[in-house]
């Protein structure tokens, strides 16, 4: 396994991102949830 960068660990700040919405219009952003709700961020390979 190659590991060119450090994997996030508990206690780290979640890196922000804004991406084109894949199932609607506009964008989706991590910042939309800050101060509002806990969040599960799930990153996929391809479409699933």
């Amino acid at each position: 396994m190659t590991e060119p960068f450090r994997t996030l660990e508990p206690g780290d700040p979640a890196p922000g991102f804004t991406l084109p919405a894949a199932n609607g219009e506009g964008t989706v952003s991590l910042a939309d949830y800050r101060g509002r709700s806990p969040l599960l961020v799930a990153l996929f390979r391809g479409l699933y």
Partner: protein, 163 residues
């Protein structure tokens, strides 16, 4: 996407879900017409988010390819699909009327060594729990997703400490 029911259960526990798929928004929108989901999904064909979250990539080896095909074949068997050797992925995709395209195949070839992960983030933006594919079980962990029970337990106990 297998997250639909999980996301509904998490929502009842006060946790939202945000998914990132590694293909173009155009391709993803077509896909989600066939398989709609009720939570936001972002499109990141260049894996920028995956890198930012430190998800590793595996070296592509025959063993890795075999492990991926085994997962697909097992899933096809569970779905009671009769598939030719090395044809499980396409057969599973065809279940909902969605036909894999050249763009999907290109994504697969480009991303098959990209490991995936899930991160629980509290309301202040701090990561409180992570699950990285293959981190615990090696190749046997390909495509393994936490159970709903595991995620709900984490949401209630780990996030509860920081709310």
């Amino acid at each position: 996407m297998l997250l639909g029911k999980t996301a509904e259960k998490l929502k009842e526990a006060g946790v939202q879900t945000l998914a990132v798929v590694a293909t173009s928004a155009e391709r993803a929108r077509l896909f989600f017409r066939f398989r709609p989901v009720r939570f936001p999904v972002g499109a990141d064909p260049d894996l920028i988010t995956h890198r930012a979250y430190g998800l590793p990539q595996m070296v592509v080896t025959p063993e890795l390819g075999q492990a991926i095909e085994v997962v697909a074949t097992n899933l096809a068997r569970e779905l009671k699909l009769s598939v030719p050797a090395a044809g499980a992925l396409a057969a599973i995709d065809g279940l909902d009327g969605y036909a894999r395209t050249e763009a999907d195949e290109a994504d697969f070839q480009r991303h098959q060594a990209q490991l995936v992960g899930q991160f629980l983030v509290d309301g202040t933006g701090i990561v409180r729990w992570t699950n990285i594919e293959c981190q615990r079980d090696g190749l046997a962990g390909i495509d393994k997703f936490p159970t709903d029970e595991e995620l709900l337990t984490v949401a209630q106990t780990v996030l509860g400490q920081y709310s």
